[in-house]
């Protein structure tokens, strides 16, 4: 019982560790040439020496770009209290002008209120604007007529492009550094890139103290910038790469080892750690790690893998079987699973489609499949012959499972029977699936 309690506590501790990214990445950022220290150097220099910097953080998803940035910002806040303002914009959320403006203004509300009054005339009229202005105690002049829409849009455009200048200027005057964090940077580069241009342009003025940090998972994000934007961008890029196998192993060890100063009973900790080290050093575990990192070597994948690991509460320890089970549940083959789920009639239809493809018919539809089905039935004399409506329904099931798909996107001008379809499984997958099906005729 006591063992179970401590096992539960240990489990909770490990899960909390796995779900907070900051812990993970603080472990790996001590070395001097890591991305963490480089980023810290860049940002602190822009705070201290009041120079304007822009940097891009690139790397595949799950490599810890945001986590490292958070760590750096935390440290900077500790070092330079009250001198930094951070504005976070996300490409997914704020790809619309209004949202970006609102998101930008809220962190700066303390010292912008008085300054924006003369510009309030240009500000927008909808509900968000109303709330925004009330928030910031601005005088709100209502532009009542929507008829002069074009003038309104022009005015809004001015306000929009002025905003970063305002922010940076005021922050510069107040001796505060603004750090713009642009998440999903590549989504900001769609369209006209107005925001990017005005941001980077605002940084060029003397009185501003700003830094722009862009985060993206596309490695060519700076190629997406327009020429004028790119010229204002200092081409500093920090590449985040997924760690090597040894690093991964080391990381896993650090995560899973229980600390000796926690509230758990000491002997449990010792035994747990000993067993874990034993497993981690073994050959079979290395195989598991190889398999895992072959497909997706990012840290996120590792975390998901660990989260799935089952710790047997009775014995209170993680064993090798748990790791194996976790690996198989993470690496799934959904199409094979789908095939196992199909009923026999659906399998018939799939086989018919494959035969049609083998006969080199480029496009075929349900009627052709039915003909093939009938010919199979006549030649092999099976007992599985069903009527057309039944087959049609099975066909629709297959569509729902997304094993087959329509070739054209024309909508519903024709009924289901006549639209050309294609098979989304390769022949190899189909064959494998049929072999593994238990009661297949």
């Amino acid at each position: 019982m006591e063992r179970q309690n401590s096992a539960e506590e240990a489990l909770i501790l490990l899960r909390i560790r796995l779900c907070t990214p900051n812990f993970i990445f603080s472990l790996s950022s001590d070395s001097p040439d890591s991305n963490y220290s480089k980023l810290k150097f860049i940002l602190s220099s822009s705070v201290v020496e009041a120079c304007n910097n822009s940097v891009l953080l690139l790397g595949p998803r799950g490599c810890g770009k945001i986590a490292v940035l958070e760590l750096v910002l935390e440290d900077l806040f500790k070092e330079f209290p009250d001198m930094i303002t951070v504005i976070k914009l996300n490409g997914l959320l704020h790809n619309d002008d209004n949202c970006a403006i609102k998101a930008s203004l809220s962190p700066c509300r303390n010292f912008i209120k008085l300054i924006l009054v003369p510009y309030a005339v240009f500000l927008f009229v909808d509900e968000i604007a109303r709330q925004l202005c009330v928030e910031h105690e601005l005088i709100f002049s209502k532009m009542a007529s929507f008829d002069d829409n074009s003038q309104f849009m022009v005015a809004m455009l001015h306000a929009y492009t002025y905003l970063p200048y305002l922010i940076t200027r005021e922050c510069g005057l107040a001796h505060k550094t603004v750090i713009f964090v642009l998440d999903e940077f590549d989504l900001f580069t769609q369209g006209k890139q107005r925001l990017l241009y005005s941001l980077l342009d605002a940084m060029q003025s003397v009185t501003s103290q700003a830094a722009v940090v862009g985060i993206s998972c596309r490695l060519d994000a700076d190629q997406l910038l327009e020429k004028r934007v790119r010229s204002r961008f200092s081409h500093r890029k920090l590449l985040f790469l997924p760690p090597s196998k040894e690093d991964l192993q080391r990381l896993l060890k650090q995560i899973l080892l229980l600390p000796s100063d926690s509230t758990l009973p000491q002997d449990y900790i010792v035994e747990f750690n000993a067993r874990l080290l034993n497993i981690l050093a073994g050959e079979r575990f290395k195989d598991i790690m190889d398999k895992l990192s072959c497909s997706d070597p990012t840290i996120n994948n590792l975390l998901r893998f660990s989260a799935v690991c089952f710790m047997d509460l009775k014995s209170g320890f993680i064993s090798l079987e748990n790791f194996k089970a976790a690996l198989s549940s993470i690496q799934r083959q959904p199409k094979l699973e789908c095939l196992k789920d199909c009923s026999i009639l659906e399998l018939y239809i799939l086989v018919c489609m494959k035969r049609l493809e083998v006969k080199e018919q480029e496009s075929y539809n349900f009627n052709a499949v039915m003909k093939e089905y009938r010919s199979i039935h006549e030649s092999f004399q099976t007992s599985d012959h069903y009527s057309r409506s039944v087959c049609l329904r099975a066909f629709e099931h297959l569509l729902q499972r997304e094993v087959i798909a329509f070739l054209d996107n024309r909508g519903h001008s024709q009924s289901v029977e006549f639209r050309p379809v294609k098979l989304l499984l390769s022949p190899h997958e189909l064959y494998q699936g049929l072999k593994s099906y238990r009661s297949c005729p």
Partner: protein, 538 residues
């Protein structure tokens, strides 16, 4: 699936609940004096009803034991944070009901929203926010949501505030140690169902990556996200990728599980099990979905029990054999009708003959001819349907030969000897016709064929006029022309005729018949119209 109470109705309280701590949120809401107070507390986030033990949970979902265990393990004990989950599997495999029952067993607060009822990002966001802010749409506030939220950025801000307040409420409840509450733990779970429908909302929107990134964006360890979808995760792959949630797979049921599912809640288990012995295997080869099988079985079971006078008897071997022989002729047609939605009880008369016709394909088609169409259509509409079908199937050049003024169909000059090559050509032409589907025709052609057909019909169209005299036919046509046009439009609405694209040269709309051959044959038979003579067979 059978025993799931609809979560919406059980989760909301219409009266103030058992919690004794005064909830500041409900106090702030103005309560109407006349109607009952619609205050909601944090209790409403938990599944109401009897708490469920673990054994009950497992036994109520046969065959799902391993999935239930896996889900409970991934959810973790009280207060442990969680990486988002992605539950996927075929349809009607019990994903939604399993996860809801698990939450009922665990007594943890959750928020459920389905992308089928919330067909818009805005409705989805507002539904989640309403539930979190414990706001209910009622007459008092004019059926408005708590906050108007259209864009993802607003949603993130609102939900952060709402979650913070809910979590504070929950932890306040824990620390105050009052006995009314049943919600466990400090975590709130968001369940989003039917995720595969989100892909079709708006192709250019970012809703789907946004939902997947929600966990990272929120950065609150007290919230857990669970996605339920009918299609596997590889159908969600996009160009830029996203952080993948942990997949949990629900496979379809195997035969033993299906048997166990159907055996539940049966009044006479032995009788039903002998029925299942007969019926389950052949039906299993067609489909494995519970909802389709159950509807098919219910009607079959009635015929199975017909010779029994007393439904409570336990059948012995001899009776089983007798029942089986009674049922057997019904199985084969039932297999073919498995997906039919019964409109009204119309049991075919020739049940026994159909069993013999299972042998070959041709005979199957013949057997279907003996069925009647089971809805009512006026004569004029039936003729229109046939004309539309003919217009779609036959190429326009044949019309002259088929429908000349004598209305004859025998004077076809088709008796040439056809060489092998032309036969082959005809076959390929027929194949192409089959492939391309029904052709389009303009309205004038439809009316022309309609006139030709009705002028030679032997059916009295109009009660007063007997016999198809030439003069009578014409006057009938002119007087009923607006009626015909009305019929055409009603056939369009009923999807028998669909409007195709308009020809750019002529500018008039073209139509297309969406009726298949069996249906047209049935209609023609009911009118004693020799449809097969008019069809172009290549």
């Amino acid at each position: 699936m059978n025993q799931e109470e609809s979560p919406q109705s059980t989760r909301r309280a219409t009266r103030s609940t058992t919690s004794s701590t005064p909830n500041p949120k409900s106090a702030a809401k103005p309560t109407k004096s006349s109607s009952k107070p619609q205050t909601l507390t944090l209790e409403n986030l938990v599944f109401r009803g009897q708490p469920l033990g673990f054994d009950d949970l497992v036994s109520s979902f046969p065959g799902r034991r391993s999935q239930i265990l896996e889900l409970m393990r991934l959810l973790g004990t009280l207060g442990s944070p969680m990486i988002p989950l992605f539950i996927y599997g075929g349809l009607s495999t019990g994903k939604t009901s399993v996860i809801l029952e698990i939450f009922r067993h665990l007594n943890r607060p959750f928020v459920y929203s389905s992308c089928r009822t919330c067909y818009n990002p805005r409705i989805l966001f507002e539904s989640i926010l309403n539930q979190l802010l414990l706001h209910r749409k009622s007459e008092g506030n004019g059926y408005l949501s708590a906050k108007r939220c259209e864009r993802p950025s607003d949603f993130v801000n609102f939900i952060r505030d709402a979650l913070v307040s809910v979590v504070n409420g929950l932890s306040g409840k824990l620390s105050s140690k009052k006995l009314g509450g049943r919600a466990n733990g400090r975590m709130v779970y968001l369940i989003i169902d039917n995720l595969e429908l989100v892909r079709e909302w708006d192709k250019s929107s970012n809703i789907l990556p946004f939902l997947f990134e929600l966990y990272d964006v929120l950065k609150m360890p007290e919230v857990g996200l669970i996605f339920i979808s009918g299609t596997s995760p590889d159908t969600y792959y996009s160009d830029t990728g996203y952080t993948e949630p942990i997949p949990v797979y629900f496979p379809d049921y195997v035969e033993d599980d299906l048997r166990q599912i159907f055996m539940r809640n049966q009044s006479n288990p032995k009788l039903f099990s002998s029925f299942l012995d007969v019926v389950l295997k052949p039906f299993y080869r067609i489909t494995r979905r519970v909802d389709e099988l159950s509807s098919a079985f219910s009607s079959l079971f009635k015929t199975y029990c017909e010779p029994l006078s007393d439904l409570g008897t336990v059948p012995n071997e001899e009776m089983k054999r007798r029942l089986f022989s009674h049922l057997q002729p019904h199985i084969a047609p039932a297999l073919n009708e498995i997906f039919r939605v019964p409109s009204h009880p119309s049991i075919g008369a020739t049940a026994k003959d159909k069993a013999k016709r299972k042998a070959s394909a041709k005979k199957l088609e013949v057997s279907e001819e003996f069925e009647e169409i089971d809805f009512h259509m006026s004569t004029c509409a039936k003729y229109l349907l046939i004309s539309a079908f003919l217009a779609s199937r036959n190429p326009a050049t044949l019309d002259a030969s088929l429908f000349d003024s004598t209305g004859g169909s025998d004077s076809r000059k088709r008796k040439r000897k056809s060489s092998a090559k032309s036969v082959e050509k005809k076959e390929t032409a027929e194949q192409e016709l089959v492939m391309k589907g029904p052709g389009t025709f303009p309205l004038e052609r439809l009316l022309a064929i309609f006139q030709c057909i009705t002028s030679v019909s032997e059916y009295p169209l109009d009660e007063e006029e007997q016999g198809p005299t030439e003069l009578g036919g014409e006057s009938w046509d002119s007087s009923l022309m607006p009626d015909v046009l009305l019929q055409i439009s009603s056939l369009c609405n009923a999807n028998f005729i669909s409007k195709g694209g308009s020809c750019p040269l002529e500018g008039s709309a073209r139509y297309r018949s969406t009726v298949d051959e069996d249906m047209a044959l049935k209609v023609a038979r009911s009118l004693n119209f020799p449809l097969s003579k008019y069809l172009f067979r290549g």
